[in-house]
Symmetry: C2
Subunit: 146 residues, 2 copies
């Protein structure tokens, strides 16, 4: 029922996540990128040569999820894996030239999708909204890890 649904911040957030995913996917599609690929790239643009485990942590997904995303990124020519000289169990993930060239256009495309979310609120409320989202996340994380 509408009343109850609007009382559930979880369901509302899920709805935003779905709509945002669609907007981000739509903005990235002309570049041949998917949402999960973009999120991985956005960490690798900051620091290249990470291990899978570190990358998964920074993006905030499970290792198995990142492993699958990396398979698709390797298939699509976005990354290469090289042995980690310090540890035979892990590999370093390096961006290809193609991935480097996508940084500016993909960042712009994602910024547009992010703007679509923010523009639903007057500028004066946006900082508070971010802060609320962050506090809700922090609380849910403490519960998860307790």
């Amino acid at each position: 029922m509408e009343f109850d649904r609007n009382r559930s911040a979880g369901i509302l957030a899920s709805e935003i996540a779905r709509l945002y995913a669609a907007a981000l996917q739509g903005a990235l599609h002309p570049l041949g990128l998917s949402r999960a690929q973009y999120l991985a790239l956005s960490e690798l643009w900051l620091e290249d040569g990470l291990t899978q485990r570190l990358l998964a942590e920074r993006v905030g997904v499970e290792q198995a999820t990142m492993a699958n995303t990396l398979v698709r990124m390797e298939r699509d020519g976005l990354i290469e894996r090289k042995p980690n000289p310090d540890d035979g169990r892990s590999q370093q993930i390096w961006l290809t030239q193609a991935a480097h060239r996508l940084q500016a256009p993909a960042t712009n495309a994602a910024a547009k999708a992010n703007e679509l979310v923010a523009e639903g609120l007057p500028v004066a409320e946006r900082e508070l909204f971010f802060s609320m989202l962050a506090r809700v996340i922090a609380n849910l994380r403490t519960i998860r890890s307790s």
Copy 2:
């Protein structure tokens, strides 16, 4: 990077959606229900005998997504489908006795998951948070449909 990430309401909302999904899934698991099943049930508890199309609209997912969810719900003995006397193309979706019996416990379990999200904010801020979420959704929806 943390700074940039916290500037994206979309990514923050996605994070809440994931954490909420995990909490809801965890709360429903002892009842043998999944999240998507619960969302479908919560509409059918309000009105039984809906068509697939109507149910998908009310839950807010695509028809194909609901079709798959209904396959799993039928498999799990939660629903039965009967021919629609008014329209040979569609079927009516009816809850089983088992599904009716789950209404109270599942509603309680979901309420607990919802409370986990809300409790990240002081009571005084919660109404505003709901209203912000709703406004962001409304804006994203107008973009989508334009």
